[in-house]
Symmetry: C2
Subunit: 220 residues, 2 copies
């Protein structure tokens, strides 16, 4: 499904080159549930962004359903993301001037397959799944940290994507709410979705069928 071979990532910072991913090779199969764990700064988000077609590696090959992503334009990468991937950002990336509901339904606007759907109903459904039915018209700055996180989760689910990439989805959640979110992800996995989460929470990591450990930019 998703195949990384010899992936490197180097940031050019003026006179210095900072390499953050070294020769990463991974295979992820349909309906896998993978957890990526490792120390702060070790390269997990950088790796997930490449998997999500949000960023390009400096070298190496990334095959997405058999197609070489390196040969695609930025518009093509954007189309792949909108159609097939739901992404939950570590820092949420909510739009301040839009309500929770408006934020959740935003991906529907970019997707051709939802032209005839009721956006509001799909959005309310996803907000209900994350326990936020009573906060749909709040703006991000009128929500708690964990509520903002859950809006970001709901938004990643609204297009019913085949692949869900979750960067620290429970970092701001108490253990009960965190359990609810993990149940939700497990259900989606049972329905056949491929799930990749980055997490610092061992209980979350243990829910996965496979754990990938990263240290200093390498898979160990």
């Amino acid at each position: 499904l998703l195949e990384l071979s010899g992936i490197n990532k180097i940031y050019k910072m003026g006179q210095i080159d900072l390499q953050v991913l070294f020769d990463i090779s991974l295979h992820i199969y349909d309906a896998d549930f993978v957890s990526i764990i490792g120390p702060s700064g070790s390269g997990k988000t950088t790796l997930l962004n490449i998997i999500a077609c949000l960023d390009r590696p400096s070298s190496g090959i990334y095959n997405f359903f058999g197609e070489n992503v390196g040969l695609k334009s930025n518009d093509e990468m954007s189309a792949i993301r909108n159609l097939r991937i739901g992404f939950i950002f570590q820092s949420f990336n909510l739009i301040p001037r839009h309500t929770a509901l408006e934020n959740v339904i935003m991906p529907l606007h970019y997707s051709t397959k939802f032209k005839n759907s009721n956006f509001k109903n799909l959005g309310l459904e996803c907000l209900e799944k994350v326990g936020l039915s009573d906060r749909v018209n709040h703006y991000p700055n009128e929500l708690s940290g964990g509520q903002q996180q859950r809006v970001a989760i709901a938004r990643a689910l609204v297009t019913n994507p085949e692949i869900i990439l979750a960067d620290e989805p429970t970092g701001n959640l108490d253990s009960k709410t965190s359990d609810d979110i993990m149940k939700l992800l497990k259900d989606l996995n049972m329905q056949g979705k491929t799930i990749i989460t980055i997490t610092h929470d061992n209980e979350v990591a243990e829910q996965a069928s496979e754990i990938i450990r990263i240290k200093d930019g390498r898979v160990i």
Copy 2:
């Protein structure tokens, strides 16, 4: 030291009033180490912001070292914060156009007691305590989530404040880095500083000498 009596907080949202804190009364003493725990959305950040003089209650009395904060102007509250409180925000609040080091030393500019100090040295010292000596010139968008969190922690410590208020200080950190941060806070507590943390992490909560549980805006 810090005394809350009958604190209520109500947000006015158009036609609706949303009450998020109900009749909260607490005493916090010098050199206490307090953890505040509770579900997402229960009112913890709202409570900590009032304790920090970042926000005002809708009703009730807040005595800060025996002085009624409700009688103080916004400038006076600001002065109290700069002089006596170090605050770690749940969403970090780093300034994007400033480097890690510049962000860390910002509170020194507002404080009269550091006029003759070497700001750069104080900043580097704090960044070293949180393990970021090799990231001092990175901008926030060139840092991982956990690195941004640690810059926010370092910034809260640079003025050597008597009171440290930490809203989810380890939410984005792996367990080893999280332990390092908790050791740092315990050391500061041993030196006589008063520490109040909000946390979803039971291991962090257990480090405190006292736990305050919040549910639906009430202390339970």
